[in-house]
C-alpha cells in the first residue's frame, strides 16, 4: 500500500516548522514517529498534501525534572521513557503505560507527543496525562500556550491545538514523597490497543489519607475520560478504606461510555472499567505508601 503523493518538508527548527504549518494550513500534517500517521496514509484514510517532518527539529527529545515538573519533549520516543531509570523509579504510572503501548518494535519509533496529539480514544497516554493532571505546552505563531490535560483532549482524534500550533513539551507534576500510580490495561493479545484500561495517580498525606487522586480511562468513550466524581469521593478519605475504593470503582463504571466492537461488548467493557480502576487504585496506594521520594 502506497500513500497518496505529498510534498515533504523537514524543517530544522521549531520556528520553521510553525511557518510551514501556517503557510499550508489544513493541507499539512506534522509527522512524528509515524506509527499512526503512516498506516492511515497507506490506507488512504487521510491524504495530506504536505508533510512536515518534525524528526530533524533539534531539542524536542528529552526527559528531565526541572522547575517542579517532569518535562518530556514531544519527540521523545517511547523506548526512551521505557528505558529511563528516572521514570521507572519515580513515575510508575507513566512507565507502566508506555511499556504496554503497541510492541517493542513500534516503541522504537512512536513518540509521547504523537500519542497525545493523535488522541485516538484507544491511545494510552491521554488517560495517563489526565490522571497526572499534566500540562501540554504548545507553540504557535503567537508564542507559547500551556494547556491543562482536562482541556486538551476534546474528542476522538481532536485536541485543543489550534491551527499552526505544535506540541512542544509535556509537563507532569514532579513526583512527591508518598505519591504513586498504576496503569492497568486489558488487551486481547500482545501489542494490541486496550479493550479497556484505567490510569490512577495518588498522593497520600502523613496519615494515609488521599491528598491527590487522578483517575482516567482509556478505550471507554469517545476520548479518554477523567472520572472526577471518583476523585472527589476519595479526597481526604483514608486509603485503607476498601469501601471508598469500591465506591470510586463503581463511579468509573458509571463514567464509562464504551461501545460494543470487535474488542468486546459494551457491558463487558463497563465491568472492566470497574475492575481495572479498583485494582489500579489498590496498586497505586501500595506504591505511594512505600515511595519516599
Amino acid at each position: 500500500m502506497i500513500p497518496a503523493p505529498f510534498e515533504y518538508y523537514s524543517p530544522s527548527s521549531l520556528e520553521e516548522a510553525i511557518e510551514l504549518l501556517e503557510r499550508f494550513g489544513e493541507d499539512a500534517k506534522l509527522l512524528a514517529g509515524g506509527q499512526s500517521l503512516i498506516p492511515m496514509m497507506k490506507l488512504r484514510i487521510i491524504e495530506p498534501k504536505v508533510i512536515i517532518d518534525l524528526n530533524r527539529v533539534p531539542g524536542l527529545s528529552y526527559i528531565r525534572e526541572e522547575g517542579g515538573f517532569l518535562r518530556i519533549g514531544a519527540l521523545t520516543r517511547y523506548y526512551m521513557v521505557e528505558e529511563s531509570e528516572l521514570v521507572r523509579r519515580r513515575y510508575p504510572l507513566l512507565h507502566e503505560a508506555v511499556s504496554q503501548i503497541a510492541d517493542p518494535v513500534v516503541r522504537n519509533m512512536g513518540t509521547v507527543g504523537g500519542n497525545v496529539c493523535h488522541s485516538d480514544p484507544a491511545n494510552d497516554l491521554p488517560a495517563v496525562m489526565l490522571a497526572y493532571g499534566a500540562e501540554m505546552v504548545a507553540v504557535g505563531p503567537n508564542g507559547e500556550r500551556v494547556i491543562g490535560a482536562s482541556e486538551f483532549f476534546r474528542g476522538p482524534y481532536q485536541t485543543d491545538l489550534r491551527p499552526g500550533e505544535i506540541l512542544k513539551e509535556i509537563r507532569i507534576p514532579q513526583a512527591k514523597p508518598r505519591s504513586g500510580g498504576a496503569y492497568l490495561k486489558l488487551e486481547r493479545r500482545a501489542g494490541d490497543f486496550a479493550i479497556a484500561a484505567s490510569a490512577v495517580q495518588v498522593v497520600l498525606d502523613s496519615s494515609d489519607r488521599f491528598e491527590y487522586v487522578g483517575i482516567a480511562l482509556t478505550s471507554l468513550g469517545p476520548t479518554a475520560i477523567r472520572v472526577d466524581a471518583a476523585e472527589k469521593v476519595l479526597l481526604g478519605r483514608s486509603s485503607s478504606n476498601l469501601s471508598s475504593i469500591n465506591e470510586a470503582a463503581e463511579l468509573a463504571y458509571k463514567a464509562a461510555e464504551p461501545v460494543s466492537d470487535l474488542r468486546g461488548p459494551e457491558w463487558y467493557k463497563r465491568e472492566m472499567a470497574k475492575v481495572l480502576t479498583k485494582r489500579a487504585l489498590l496498586k497505586a496506594v501500595e506504591r505511594a505508601r512505600s515511595f519516599t521520594g
Binding site: 503512516i38 497507506k42 508533510i51 523506548y79 518494535v105 501489542g191
Partner: protein, 179 residues
C-alpha cells in the same frame, strides 16, 4: 524551503555498510527503498499495516518496521537487513540458532524475526524466555508456534556470550555489503 516543492528528494541511506543514493518520492517507504532501490529482497512485506514485523530492519541499531518509515526519514541512517547478518560465508549466531533449533517453517517471518532477535541480544545478552517473548511480540509467526523461535534465540544468546562477539554486525567501508 522551496526545495521541498520538488517531487523527488535525494536520500542517502547506508544498508549493510554500503551507501545507496537515490532520488525518491517522499512517499516511498523504507521497505521499498531496501527491496527496489537497493535490490535487497530478504526484507519481506507481510501485513503492510505495522502488525506483523516481517519488514523489521535495524535503523541506527534499533529494530523498526520498515513498512512504516518513509525512506526520507531514514536519510543518513545506518540500516542493517537480514543480508547483512552473514559474514564471509559464516552464518550469524541467530541464523545458526534458527537452523539448529528449527526456528522456522515457511520462513516468511524469519528475516524480521532475526532482526528483532539481533536487536534484543544487543540490549540483553542473556534474556529469559519471558523477555524473549516480550521482545518478539511485534513479530508474528503463523507456522512455528514460537516455541522453537524462543529456543533459537536462546541458542544464539549462548553462542554470542561464548564467542564474545557483537550481535549487531559491524561494517567497514572497505567491505561493502552485498547488493
Amino acid at each position: 524551503m522551496g526545495e521541498g516543492r520538488k517531487p523527488l528528494r535525494r536520500v542517502s541511506i547506508t544498508i549493510n555498510g554500503k551507501r545507496y543514493e537515490a532520488e525518491v518520492e517522499p512517499r516511498m517507504l523504507l521497505v521499498h527503498f531496501i527491496r527496489e532501490v537497493a535490490g535487497l529482497t530478504g526484507t519481506h512485506v507481510g501485513c503492510d499495516t505495522t502488525n506483523c514485523g516481517a519488514c523489521t530492519v535495524l535503523m541506527n541499531g534499533r529494530a523498526v518496521k520498515s513498512c512504516t518509515v518513509f525512506a526520507v526519514m531514514a536519510d543518513g541512517a545506518e540500516i542493517v537487513t537480514v543480508e547483512g547478518l552473514e559474514s564471509d560465508g559464516k552464518l550469524h549466531p541467530v541464523q545458526e540458532g534458527f537452523v539448529e533449533e528449527h526456528g522456522l517453517q515457511c520462513g516468511f517471518c524469519t528475516p524480521g524475526m532475526l532482526m528483532t532477535s539481533v536487536w534484543l541480544l544487543s540490549r540483553n545478552p542473556d534474556p529469559s524466555e519471558e523477555e524473549i517473548r516480550r521482545y518478539i511480540s511485534g513479530n508474528l509467526c503463523r507456522c512455528t508456534g514460537y516455541l522453537n523461535i524462543v529456543k533459537a534465540i536462546r541458542y544464539a544468546a549462548r553462542k554470542i556470550r561464548e564467542e564474545g562477539v557483537s550481535p549487531i554486525p559491524r561494517f567497514t567501508p572497505e567491505k561493502p555489503g552485498r547488493g
